[in-house]
Symmetry: D4
Amino acid sequence: MTNAQSPALEVNNADGLTLARLDIGREERCGAPEAVFAQGKTPEDTLAITERLAEKQGHALVTRAGAEAMRLLRARWPDLREAAHAGLALVGTPPAVRDDGQHVAVAAAGTSDLPVAEEAVMTLASLGIGARIVADIGVAGLHRLLARLDDFRAASVVIAVAGMEGALPSVISGLVATPVIAVPTSVGYGAHLGGLTAMLGMLGSCSPGISVVNIDNGFGAAVAAARIINNAARLRRQEGTLP
Amino acid sequence: MTNAQSPALEVNNADGLTLARLDIGREERCGAPEAVFAQGKTPEDTLAITERLAEKQGHALVTRAGAEAMRLLRARWPDLREAAHAGLALVGTPPAVRDDGQHVAVAAAGTSDLPVAEEAVMTLASLGIGARIVADIGVAGLHRLLARLDDFRAASVVIAVAGMEGALPSVISGLVATPVIAVPTSVGYGAHLGGLTAMLGMLGSCSPGISVVNIDNGFGAAVAAARIINNAARLRRQEGTLP
Amino acid sequence: MTNAQSPALEVNNADGLTLARLDIGREERCGAPEAVFAQGKTPEDTLAITERLAEKQGHALVTRAGAEAMRLLRARWPDLREAAHAGLALVGTPPAVRDDGQHVAVAAAGTSDLPVAEEAVMTLASLGIGARIVADIGVAGLHRLLARLDDFRAASVVIAVAGMEGALPSVISGLVATPVIAVPTSVGYGAHLGGLTAMLGMLGSCSPGISVVNIDNGFGAAVAAARIINNAARLRRQEGTLP
Amino acid sequence: MTNAQSPALEVNNADGLTLARLDIGREERCGAPEAVFAQGKTPEDTLAITERLAEKQGHALVTRAGAEAMRLLRARWPDLREAAHAGLALVGTPPAVRDDGQHVAVAAAGTSDLPVAEEAVMTLASLGIGARIVADIGVAGLHRLLARLDDFRAASVVIAVAGMEGALPSVISGLVATPVIAVPTSVGYGAHLGGLTAMLGMLGSCSPGISVVNIDNGFGAAVAAARIINNAARLRRQEGTLP
Amino acid sequence: MTNAQSPALEVNNADGLTLARLDIGREERCGAPEAVFAQGKTPEDTLAITERLAEKQGHALVTRAGAEAMRLLRARWPDLREAAHAGLALVGTPPAVRDDGQHVAVAAAGTSDLPVAEEAVMTLASLGIGARIVADIGVAGLHRLLARLDDFRAASVVIAVAGMEGALPSVISGLVATPVIAVPTSVGYGAHLGGLTAMLGMLGSCSPGISVVNIDNGFGAAVAAARIINNAARLRRQEGTLP
Amino acid sequence: MTNAQSPALEVNNADGLTLARLDIGREERCGAPEAVFAQGKTPEDTLAITERLAEKQGHALVTRAGAEAMRLLRARWPDLREAAHAGLALVGTPPAVRDDGQHVAVAAAGTSDLPVAEEAVMTLASLGIGARIVADIGVAGLHRLLARLDDFRAASVVIAVAGMEGALPSVISGLVATPVIAVPTSVGYGAHLGGLTAMLGMLGSCSPGISVVNIDNGFGAAVAAARIINNAARLRRQEGTLP
Amino acid sequence: MTNAQSPALEVNNADGLTLARLDIGREERCGAPEAVFAQGKTPEDTLAITERLAEKQGHALVTRAGAEAMRLLRARWPDLREAAHAGLALVGTPPAVRDDGQHVAVAAAGTSDLPVAEEAVMTLASLGIGARIVADIGVAGLHRLLARLDDFRAASVVIAVAGMEGALPSVISGLVATPVIAVPTSVGYGAHLGGLTAMLGMLGSCSPGISVVNIDNGFGAAVAAARIINNAARLRRQEGTLP
Amino acid sequence: MTNAQSPALEVNNADGLTLARLDIGREERCGAPEAVFAQGKTPEDTLAITERLAEKQGHALVTRAGAEAMRLLRARWPDLREAAHAGLALVGTPPAVRDDGQHVAVAAAGTSDLPVAEEAVMTLASLGIGARIVADIGVAGLHRLLARLDDFRAASVVIAVAGMEGALPSVISGLVATPVIAVPTSVGYGAHLGGLTAMLGMLGSCSPGISVVNIDNGFGAAVAAARIINNAARLRRQEGTLP
């Protein structure tokens, strides 16, 4: 690994200080481009960094943006796609959705978990991967979930989003053979501990085959799903069944 | 409430020190007699207290007994009933099982949860209440659970025992109308946190109507179930449909 | 269990996305209808889902509603019943209170615990069950509690609501034979840990027979109480002493 | 899903009590057969359940077995494969290793993490999947890791096993495009919190694309890896490039 | 404060290394002499340090001693007083019990809390202060406690020892005006968290006037009680009503 | 204890619901009157309850009042004494400060800990007990503390208030013989955990004789100090040296 | 140590109460002057204390100042230096930067960690020590870090600032021999636990030689770095190679 | 950084599996050689790895060794130096102690903290750095500490080792200008949380300039101290005042 292969693009502020070293070689190296993590950045810095990234890549994804950063982004890219509840914005033109038979099913336990599901879907869109949300199928009304098993069997990955006790991924993983990435959410209160309980429960699941990402991290689940899809694509390209 | 109504029976050791004040009015007052909590007591004190209690009540239940206490109890009451894994012993002759149409279904998620389920069943036996265990029906293989719903519908209370992520009570509670008492167990490791994760998940369940007792507390779940059964019995006695 | 037996009613938003699958078979299946959990939902979605649910059931209960959602609900149903502190609203016409000799006593340790007690009472009202609050009887002034034991003995269930160290359910449970459902509250500070200390203390109570629900979860305690009351009602209907 | 499709095989003890309901349809349903979780089971029950499972499946994997259970298993199957430190045993004849170009690279940060890595490798062997361990490449000596990047690029999945601060998966995930499943281990002390710190760090990683399993759960990581490999195999079978 | 006023007595081991600097001025400075905290010391060092302390003071108290240290102490002082469960030993001749109308009431919630109560009593004995244990008066059987209020009113300090939910000090403190020092114990399991739950509950008590010491710290409670008793003694000596 | 001896005064709201049962016998029973805990109460209820209490007792102390409650109290009692940062108000005329040679020294580690120190001082004022604050003597500049030891020796109780690592009570307790009540504060950040670290450190102090109250609980420390002072006063009244 | 050697300067408020005892001897005693910790102080008190400190020392550093305190400080010292995000202000004229070949390298993992890095730099400036920030070199793009090793080798101390999993100090410490002070930051969410995860990971690092300060504590890291630099300066002054 | 510069030496077991890749370039790269972390390794593997390391370096340090590993090491190197309580062994001939005017003062709060202090001293010995222990100077008897300030002023680094509330480093750091590395120990119980309380208190210290290592990590503190000493040595070598 040399710096020539993985160059970093510096973004400076008005005082000449380095704000960011954009990892513009990440897509080639890791299969997914860098995104802008807006938490803890000023709205102005978020905008400046996003502009440089979009310039280089043709598009850029911003996560954890606050209201003011979102306002600046909207003013600069009036046609951006956004999931406002999740603080997510996708500016510029992402790659077209691949047409290779692989997609992701995103299961959301309750209506309140939808923003995290949408974060996953939009992140996948930024990577050219299709996704379908299956909403409000929490385990308190199991028939709603049992009616949708074929959706999960047809997908290459299931992203299972759930708050409260977070039992949804356990149940899905016991019913289908698809890889399941579990996303705990901060929906709940009290003993829910801001999502820690769901997260710990998913990690300690009695259903093997589940792997877990951080609370509310629809973005991370989507990138992990993309790596799974890319694994199959790589093999099929080697075999000549994908271009 | 006067001391005459709720007398306490002192048990002294050889030095004349008071070891215990047996709450021999508890059954009349609360519907279930006092039990001997052996943790932190010497085996000798456990034996002495159990003897006085059995003398007064005709039988006595000992919980959390260690190996040495269990040995002393067995030597004293060769025909005691025990659940050795749970450190539980029932000495003397408990009341006959009531024949009034009410019983408890005890669901155990995995084979490893059986000792806690047995603790609940033996505690219920000491109270004259019948119970049936439905073993190894964890949510990783949902069909095993769906096949037994009628067992849960026929019972007055379901005690649902589960370790790991503890999803079993949520799923049962979403399928039947019976009161569900959830018992988290210490079966699991790592993120399971010795049972705290299952406990917190049960408390934060998306399925309303569940109430929860302490980790591995089959005893407490059984006493809570007995109160529920006693509520119906009280009303039926008032109506003359029970003697 | 088939989907025909337990149908789900989809609520879509303006873009045709599924917001919710209302579990309209839950009342028949579980004895209590679905409620709307408003936390994490937009006020508009909360309103839309509540409308569909009220349409189907004649009434609907909304929990954890924020100020704006409450405003929309009030505008739509000017005569709703609400417990504003608890973010609770009851729209439409709930079933009449049953007249079968069973009711719930709701004990609140301090004045600050009243909103949670009211959440339980209003949830019970939505289920046609009567309830009486016994307020401000915390253990720091025990005579206030001892004066009200008959209230607890006359009820089918005691819901005991307490913050701080949460000792109230332990003390009540040691004095009466009624089933006790303990509700820890977030009233307190510092070592109270937002209610976790009360919750853990209730779970570790020395008074057997207590079962516990989540912090501030008056709603869940009420549904659990309803199941206990329904158990007796079911038996009495079988015996013909209830219609 | 019907019980006919997913039958459960009951294992009873000498008293006729049901010990286990073996989920013998799991392999067809989920892509990996049931394993025996020995923690909390008596050695005798572990043996009995393993015998039934091996009888049905031709082989069986036992996890979290104690010394006595291991002794019984060895006596029964003198030629079993075992990873004694991890309490893992593989009895009978597992399927042959697939020869389809997919395998797993298992990276272990330190020598002390090897038992968990071995648990993953043996679990994969029980599923017919090949694996290679890359040992002792923790981030304190980065050159050891940088020298092995091609091993990670050639694999379908990297399982990255690390205790202490658990930084290994973050660093690997930032260098290659392969799916990375992170396994925190209980190696460490003090602030390590028995592995929780490594687990939380992996979940909060700055390197997207990592998903995480429970502490020391080499078994779960292997099953998750198998699902990823099976996703590619399924597509290739559809395309006729795999038999 | 000069070193002459508060000298430290060095204890060296065989290699001439300083093991301890005994704070032999502590009694004059703080009202209670230094004790030997045996946890983490070798049995031999514990013995050596105890010998020097007893030599200087005429007596010495050892806390948290293991079985081997206890054996060495017993061999050296065959007539020592000990509370073996608490790892406590009192060697030499402590001061006579003061006859000034002040003493301590030590309330123990359950029989299992007695070792901690005994640690407090023996520590008080080493300081020449009298104490009486009131055993097994936990809040699950309130009448036992209500019958003993005069014991608490007659004392200068109540030390209230309780495990599980630790409600005893709250209830006592609401019934009498005596200073209450609460000692949580490690008696309990699961949600009890090794005594943390009792400790946190006591700190968050609704009954003001309670102060709390560490889990199982009967020693610390006794020293705190001694300071309270000394405050009154100091004033009375100033007034000439005590010699 | 009878209800006649310890009457409770009901305060009802406009709808006739009982808001509070004022424990007006508490002063006689416990040595300190009831105070109004305003957290979780509406400002209007806080005012109504305070009015009834002040009416009965001549004065009333309100703790944890928010800005709006404080405004209502100020409007009703323009001359109230308040510690606004601590949300504390003292309305009406408290008893005159006793002139019996006993007072409390309140040590505050840093300037930021002063509001909690003031809460203690004003609570003591409401009980007729004098107090003096010794401010900004944290252990980072030990000479400031060593210069004030006589202040601590002259007092009947030291209340030691400290945030961050909370070492102040340990150091004071090792230097003087006065009873020390430690109050951890929420001053600090990060590893301070909102005051838990200071609280746990005080409980685990190497300096015996410290007892601890809840985080920021200057009120509770003051009531505990009052009980200590009352113990000496009771003895002196018995001896006739106090009226 | 006498009070004459380490005098304390009292700052009183308008009512004559002591607000602070400025430790004006700290610089001579400890090598760095006292700073004003503004959290928990009123803006007015912060200003008053800062004025007295700046008067005595020629300059003063204020940490954790809120918006209103910052406004007052700016109004009083229009030319102050500030790091607004970090609540840091430096008023008056700090000492000139030493020209002795020692400086600090401040590594920041991400752009969001820059405010903490700036807090360290400005604190060092207040002590006359030079520093250079190396920004956005987190381990997700390792080449950015590997390109800057010479910056770390040339410095006397590396302050490594990182949120999320906090792996940066481990990796730097394994690559260079410079002392590394790790600063965890609160940048992250969910499993990050407000910075605790990064802090615990740094403490449990597999790379020995790291020491850690509190979350977001750039100030403390800078003072620790200054002590390291002063150690070398002291030796060199003794040798006459520094004036 | 190339692999040629930082070679790794593979140690294989009898089966040809790689057990370890010894980082034999670490001393040149980082200033301190690799040590053997024995926790989680078999005694045999510990011995094999230690042999290879000692062969290469002339000496080797083993940390966290259990009794059996210690026995094997003693059999192989009969003259090894060991700190048995700390599981530490130093085999072979370490470098001579440097005679350059720099050494470390290791302060231990209590006798029970000595094993951790010895771990630091022996690690420093393995690096050729001298150290002196100042034992039993905890803050409960402050005069013992104040008498030894010159020891701390004369050292290049103070390693301050303390359990319980861990106040020692705060107090030392407020009295001298030397760099202070704080080592929390697991000595304590209950609220001590196995050393976490001391660790958190040290991190949140009010005395700036302290940095902290893991619980009981005398080894890590020593390596950090060595880096501080090496910083001064490097500058002095550049100036020609050290050879």
